[in-house]
């Protein structure tokens, strides 16, 4: 009988925490008065959000002429932001569902926040397809196939924009349910800890009568597994369908078959970068360093580097195919990206997405919190510019040179973009105050007990 050698795994939770410590630590932000840091951040976020919504009001009043759109650039920052936020919204479900299915226990430290981020990002994204239309008061329901008395008038099932409506709404619904399901045991914990009766009542309602019975846990695990299984293909489908908005059209630079995988990878890339950005801040602000450990962060940096290189491969493939296809319009579109009037945006994208993440080859750097924060911000910027490059550089010079023009976003474009970030951070900051940002029950589950530890050494 050969001897079983079990390698020591690093702890997923550091600081020799007890179960009680975990509950105390994670619930502390919920149960204490907001810190000045939080209040400052929240004020800034709400200001940005309010400004953005005020400009949206002005937009509804005046028309989308206040944006920089023109002929031939029918789409601009609104669609860029939509794709950007949908992309950000990818990491959450990926971390919760896919990593769960692969039994990657390190996800427990970050999954809650990542899922919350997904929901909020999708909310931000959903603002844009509605406000970007010329007549949003009609678009908001005419894009739905509802029974109506307008004769045999139905939506156009051939249009990728309609597919978007289904894909994004499905994704949002499933992600929200999945997130909420995961929250239930923790909500019960918060309820049980509550002293204030009102608080107890509210969290009690949200906990839906969770008592932690074995039957509960059994059902919970089953439901969680099923939802994870349902969500996993959605991770692929949403951005695939968003990419169809472009790939199904015939504009050079849009009409390529590489778009679905390219968009999905890009989304994961940007989603993870956003998770890192948020995690660095929240583990700092709420002192969660023992739960969101450097090991967690390092794992995410590895994924960022990997997906970053995949995105880089996609950029190269696009160029190769443009050359290989022999299609002069396609060739021009790509040469124009790299050397045309928007070359600055293209090179911003390349540097941020393909060059900067390469620092993570070195272990020391990918365990350096400050550095990974900077890199993650650059990746966010780079991925925003990727969408800018795709949308703008393809549209501004298409087939007939006579209609070519240069698109410049206006202050209103930027104000609404800022507003969407304001909305995102407002929601996220509220989340940090109101819900446990780390999944208490799951962390407890993956924590090595002293028994296990000693057992391992036996």
């Amino acid at each position: 009988m050969s001897e079983v050698v079990q390698l020591e795994r690093e702890d997923l939770v550091t600081g020799r925490k007890s179960y009680a410590d975990i509950s105390n630590d994670i619930c502390r932000p919920l149960e204490s008065f907001p810190t000045q840091k939080w209040l400052l951040c929240f004020t800034i976020a709400v200001t940005c959000m309010s400004f953005g919504f005020a400009v949206i009001g002005y937009l509804f009043w005046e028309g989308i002429g206040i944006w920089g759109l023109q002929n031939p650039n029918g789409w601009g920052l609104a669609i860029i932001n939509f794709v950007f936020w949908i992309g950000i919204g990818h990491a959450g479900t990926l971390i919760s569902a896919v990593l769960y299915l692969f039994r990657q226990d390190w996800r427990t430290g970050i999954n809650r926040a990542a899922e919350a981020m997904t929901i909020f990002a999708v909310i931000c994204a959903l603002v844009f397809p509605i406000i970007h239309t010329g007549r949003p008061w009609l678009a908001v329901y005419w894009l739905l196939p509802y029974p109506n008395n307008m004769g045999p008038l139905w939506v156009n099932f051939r249009s990728p924009l309609l597919w978007d409506v289904f894909a994004v709404s499905t994704y949002f619904t499933v992600s929200a349910v999945f997130w909420y399901l995961g929250l239930i045991p923790d909500l019960a914990t918060v309820r049980d800890r509550a002293i204030n009766p009102l608080r107890k009542r509210i969290y009690g309602l949200m906990a839906m009568g969770w008592r932690g019975a074995a039957r509960h846990w059994n059902d919970y695990e089953k439901a969680y597994g099923i939802l994870a299984g349902l969500s996993a293909p959605l991770v692929l489908s949403v951005h695939t369908i968003v990419s169809f908005d472009f790939a199904v059209s015939l504009i050079p630079g849009w009409h390529t078959t590489i778009f679905p995988p390219y968009f999905v990878i890009g989304a994961i890339f940007s989603g993870f970068a956003m998770v890192v950005t948020l995690m660095v801040i929240s583990r700092e602000v709420f002192n969660m360093k023992d739960y969101i450990t450097v090991n967690h962060m390092e794992a995410m940096c590895k994924i960022i580097m990997c997906t970053g290189m995949l995105v880089g491969l996609a950029y190269a493939t696009e160029f190769f195919i443009a050359w290989y296809s022999g299609n002069p319009f396609e060739q021009y579109a790509f040469i124009n990206r790299a050397f045309g009037p928007y070359a600055w945006s293209y090179w911003t994208m390349i540097i941020c997405n393909s060059v900067i993440p390469q620092v993570f080859w070195i272990r020391k750097y990918r365990r350096n919190i400050a550095l990974m924060f900077i890199v993650s911000v650059f990746v966010n910027i780079g991925m925003w510019f990727e969408r800018f490059v795709i949308v703008v550089t393809s549209l501004h010079r298409d087939f007939l040179p006579a209609s070519w023009a240069y698109y410049t976003p206006t202050w209103a474009d930027w104000a609404i973009t800022l507003g969407s970030f304001g909305l995102f951070f407002t929601l996220f900051l509220l989340f940090c105050r109101l819900l446990p940002i780390v999944a208490i029950s799951e962390v407890k589950n993956v924590m090595k007990t002293s028994v296990m530890k000693t057992g391992a050494h036996q």
Binding site: G65, G134, R135, A139, W154, N156, L161, L162, Y332
Partner: protein
């Protein structure tokens, strides 16, 4: 009614003291409690039920009268019974004429409102082409900024008071003078005779150099009729006959007729020009020259021509040899030689032409003399040039007449000056001293449509009606007459010039010839009949004149306007000698460090008379694609040397004048030439007040010629001042893409399909495609007939209620035009070749826009139309993104209602009721004039037949002076479009996308040698 009210009003009792004191209050109180019957309420008003119904009926009738119809009739009759000729929803067509150009018009009216003006296709000269200004005239009619009533000493007064006040100015004993634009109306001339007044005529785009050239060469000052249709070779020295010169639409039609591929031979156009013009863009060979060299170039050609035809001419010395002139003008020797050879090879069938207004120098008369000499020597005089029979009555004004007027004014011998149709304080070069002389004139009477510079100085401002509101007549060419017929009663309290004159003759103590303009025109028409000894009853003749729109007396005098023989005149050799001596003492224009400025009329605004017309301001210039402002065009080299780019402001200054304008870099200019447009910086309307700078001060009067070429102009860049230009095309090269195909005549003869590159052999489709059982609409655009004049764009604007978006929105790239003319340069930036390519919605069979719309707002119909459902559109703009031709236009704002959410009166009257006014947030595009299709189909249905080419024209097609646009039913084998589909020259744009457009194009064919045609690669 008043009496009835008193009789039938019931006695009223008061209920309480309260009601007695404040009846209104208590009334309101009781009303709220019980709902009263309307009959009872009517009783209270003193109207019983029967009367109430009567009144209601009358109100409805009166309301509809006031609301939608303004019928021009001598006696206004209430609209109680439907007039025989007006059926709501059915357009009426009236013939009329443009009082300035003399062009025959067809006016479309709807419920009594004119909404569209087209050329009368039967009109003997000009045909259906009326150009941008003609197409846009309908919008002048409904311009809210027009003078609305007469003014006396700056105050608005009714006509009665105005006419009473003007008595003093027109009384006997007052010396009266008229200063007008060329007046060819026989009625106006007739009534003017009653005034014992002197009449001076002046045209802002004056042709005095041509008149004087004709006078010196042939002994009589006439404006000949040019017959480009008979010329196989045209050598033009700055004669922009396709742009603004004399009758450009007529010339376009004639010129294009010589480029027909059905006939024998193919004409050749050489253009020696100093600016970049539409004519130059259409030339087989275009050469940049300096206006100073006009005379030498003409003389060199004359010398070479006389050598080739063995005619010895004295005085044409060595300085006019080709070698010397080539050196002087930097034009290749071979080109001058070839021009001369081409002329000589086609005697009697060639034309040497000069005299465009935009490059008029003080030597223009001498140039005319040389040109006349060559044309006479080659026998073109009398075949291609008609200076005897059908001479033009347009442009009879001259600066010489103004000089005489100024002298008379300065001498104090003019008491009352009546100005009509011109704005002398703007139009005349200040060097004439008109403004100073005006102080000596006691009474200034201004008759016009805008409160312009002259009007502001006038004690009497007689608000003039628009031509579409007035009776009148025109006589644009010998023997040719047309009636100006009103199609609407005046929108404002205005009066036509003719009517004013008739009233004033009475005031001035003379008996007016007739009591009103209608009688006057009728009597003039009677004279026209007598003069031509036309047979038959006058009433028939009158009705025929109104119906056909014109009367050509030539026929009755056994003269055929179009194919008869023309008598040649004898050239007097003294004219050439004078020209040679002029050439010996030319004032040098070129000087180191200075530039020569050309003040050119633009095709859209011409002299700027219609500059308050927003649609004209927003039309892209056919050459520069500029809208809403005048710029100074610099050659790319000059711009580089001065380190300025598009939109940077520069200061232009010479000894007489200065102006600050933004730069536009124009390929095809010599580096010592700069160009700007005239007609900007006028006053008198909210639009024109704000736009552009007036370059009029650079005009000068030298030797009785208004020169449009200013020398010694220095350019100083204004540091830090720059703005984005309202240009509709930012990119000017095809980037080597096969977007438009062209070939040379020689290659065409070898292989008619030459020039076309096919990128798609066959389309494999999984589906069967659309089935078109009935009609299938399609369009063919013959690039070979298209000059790029842009008339179609204006016609489309008017027909389809296309909104004006304004300068700022054009800068943002949001112009709404449903057609655009793509203009591409290729070759050398110093002298590029140009191709114009009209682009409309291609109504693709497998339209990319249709599949991507999420709400099915753009769909295909069973007649091949790609339809836009405005009501369903939510404005995702996905369709526009996916359109490879980028012809879709989006309403980014509420463009139709910029004035506080309301269209300003009377602009709503100008709208075509058959076309929806699009609101904000909706996509729109060319509909192939679907309203016209439906209208024609209804006719077909009623008459039980399939409609054909004659039943239906799109607006652009109807406006095209050269018939470059064909539209019809592709399912009908005999239709034009079906026939042209088989034409080997036919191609579709972006064929390789496989989307099967319903619009096809026919290749452009140049009369160039194949090596010239393929000489250069594309150039930005």
């Amino acid at each position: 009614m008043q009496e009835q009210k008193q009789n039938t009003a019931p006695k009223k009792y008061w209920l309480s003291l309260n009601e007695y004191k404040t009846p209104a209050l208590s009334n309101a109180h009781t009303k709220g409690e019980f709902l009263e019957l309307p009959e009872k309420m009517a009783d209270e008003l003193g109207v019983n039920r029967r009367n109430f119904l009567k009144l209601m009926g009358a109100t409805t009738v009166l309301g509809s009268l006031a609301g939608c119809t303004r019928r021009p009739v001598q006696k206004i009759v209430p609209y109680v019974n439907k007039p025989e000729e007006i059926t709501p929803g059915v357009p009426n067509y009236y013939s009329s004429a443009d009082p300035i150009t003399g062009q025959g018009l067809i006016v479309t009216t709807r419920e009594g409102r004119p909404i569209k003006v087209d050329g009368n296709p039967e009109f003997p000269e000009g045909g259906k082409g009326i150009g941008l200004t003609g197409q846009a005239t309908i919008l002048d009619l409904y311009d809210p900024d027009r003078l609305r009533m007469p003014k006396f000493k700056g105050e608005n007064v009714p006509w009665e008071i105005f006419d009473r006040e003007i008595k003093g100015a027109l009384d006997e004993g007052q010396e009266i003078a008229f200063l007008t634009r060329t007046t060819h109306s026989p009625s106006i001339k007739r009534v003017m005779e009653r005034f014992r007044a002197s009449h001076y005529q002046f045209d802002p785009l004056g042709m005095e150099h041509m008149h004087r050239g004709q006078q010196e060469s042939y002994g009589r000052a006439v404006l000949p009729r040019y017959r480009f249709d008979r010329a196989k070779v045209i050598i033009s020295i700055d004669a922009d006959f396709l742009d603004t010169m004399i009758t450009p639409e007529e010339f376009s039609r004639q010129f294009i007729s010589t480029r027909s591929l059905d006939g024998d031979g193919y004409s050749k156009l050489f253009m020696f020009e100093s600016a970049m013009t539409l004519t130059g863009m259409n030339a087989d060979k275009r050469v940049s020259i300096h206006p100073e060299d006009h005379l030498h170039l003409a003389l060199a050609i004359a010398k070479e021509v006389s050598r080739l035809i063995d005619r010895n001419i004295d005085g044409l010395g060595e300085s006019f040899s080709i070698a010397n002139v080539a050196k002087r003008s930097e034009v290749e020797e071979d080109l001058i030689k070839e021009a001369a050879q081409q002329l000589v090879r086609n005697p009697g069938q060639s034309l040497l032409m000069a005299g465009g207004v935009g490059a008029k120098t003080e030597y223009a008369v001498a140039v005319q003399n040389v040109v006349n000499f060559v044309n006479s020597a080659l026998g073109n005089e009398g075949t291609v040039i008609d200076g005897k029979e059908m001479t033009s009555n347009l442009y009879q004004g001259s600066v010489e007449q103004v000089e005489r007027l100024v002298t008379a004014m300065n001498a104090g011998s003019i008491d009352t000056l009546v100005v009509h149709g011109v704005d002398p304080l703007y139009d005349l070069p200040s060097s004439l001293g008109f403004e100073e002389a005006l102080r000596k004139v006691k009474n200034l009477v201004f008759v016009g449509t805008y409160f312009n510079k002259t009007a502001r100085k006038a004690q009497y401002v007689a608000a003039e009606s628009h031509a579409l509101e007035s009776w009148g007549d025109v006589n644009p060419s010998n023997y040719l007459y047309a009636i100006v017929q009103p199609t609407i009663s005046p929108v404002w309290n205005t009066r036509s010039f003719l009517d004013s004159l008739i009233v004033w003759t009475g005031i001035a103590g003379n008996s007016p010839p007739e009591e009103n303009s209608y009688e006057m025109v009728r009597n003039t028409w009677r004279r026209v009949k007598d003069e031509a000894s036309a047979p038959g009853d006058f009433e028939d003749f009158w009705v025929k004149g109104l119906h056909e729109g014109f009367f050509d007396g030539a026929k009755n005098q056994n003269k055929d306007r179009n194919s008869g023989l023309i008598k040649a005149r004898n050239f007097s050799s003294g004219a050439l000698k004078r020209a040679v001596s002029t050439a010996g003492s030319l004032r040098p224009y070129r000087a180191e460090g200075t530039y020569t400025l050309l003040v050119k009329p633009s095709i859209a605004l011409r002299d700027g008379t219609q500059s308050n017309n927003a649609h004209l301001q927003e039309i892209p210039d056919p050459v520069t694609k500029m809208t809403w402002e005048n710029t100074v065009s610099l050659s790319p080299k000059t711009a580089e040397a001065l380190n300025v780019k598009d939109g940077d402001f520069v200061n232009l200054k010479n000894s007489n004048a200065a102006i600050e304008l933004p730069v536009y870099v124009q390929p095809g200019l010599r580096s010592d030439i700069i160009v700007t447009n005239m007609g900007y910086g006028r006053v008198g309307g909210r639009i024109t007040d704000e736009i552009g700078g007036s370059a009029q001060s650079f005009l000068n009067t030298i030797d009785r010629i208004v020169t449009h070429v200013a020398s010694g102009v220095k350019i100083t860049p204004v540091v830090g001042k720059s703005r984005a230009l309202a240009n509709t095309q930012e990119h000017h090269a095809t980037e080597g893409r096969d977007v438009s195909f062209e070939t040379s005549y020689e290659e065409y003869l070898n292989a008619p399909e030459s020039g076309i590159v096919h990128h798609l052999k066959e389309i494999t489709n999984l589906w069967n495609g659309h089935e078109y059982k009935g009609y299938r609409w399609g369009m063919v655009i013959d690039l070979n007939k298209c000059t790029g004049c842009t008339s179609c764009v204006m016609a489309c604007n008017v027909e389809n209620n296309i909104p004006v978006v304004g300068r700022d929105e054009v800068v943002r790239g949001r112009e709404m035009h449903w057609i655009r003319i793509d203009r591409y340069y290729r070759g050398d930036a110093e002298n590029p070749e140009v191709i114009n390519h009209p682009m409309v919605c291609q109504h693709c069979e497998d339209a990319p826009c249709e599949t991507v719309c999420p709400v099915l707002a753009t769909v295909h119909n069973d007649e091949g139309l790609n339809q836009m459902v405005y009501n369903r559109c939510v404005g995702t703009r996905y369709c526009a993104n996916n359109c490879p031709y980028k012809v879709r236009r989006f309403n980014f704002y509420e463009y139709n209602q910029p004035m506080n959410g309301k269209m300003e009166y009377p602009i709503p009257l100008s709208k075509n009721p058959e076309v929806t006014i699009r609101s904000r947030g909706v996509m729109e595009k060319c509909s192939f004039c679907t309203q016209r299709i439906e209208y024609a189909k209804n006719i077909g249905k009623r008459e039980g037949r399939r409609i054909g080419d004659n039943d239906l024209q799109t607006a652009c097609q109807a406006a095209c002076p050269t018939d470059a646009i064909m539209f019809g039913d592709m399912n009908n084998g005999s239709s034009m479009v079906a026939q042209q589909g088989k034409n080997p020259r036919s191609f579709v744009v972006l064929e390789e996308l496989g989307i099967k457009p319903s619009v096809s194009y026919l290749t452009k064919i140049w009369n160039r040698t194949p090596s010239e045609e393929h000489g250069d690669s594309s150039h930005h």
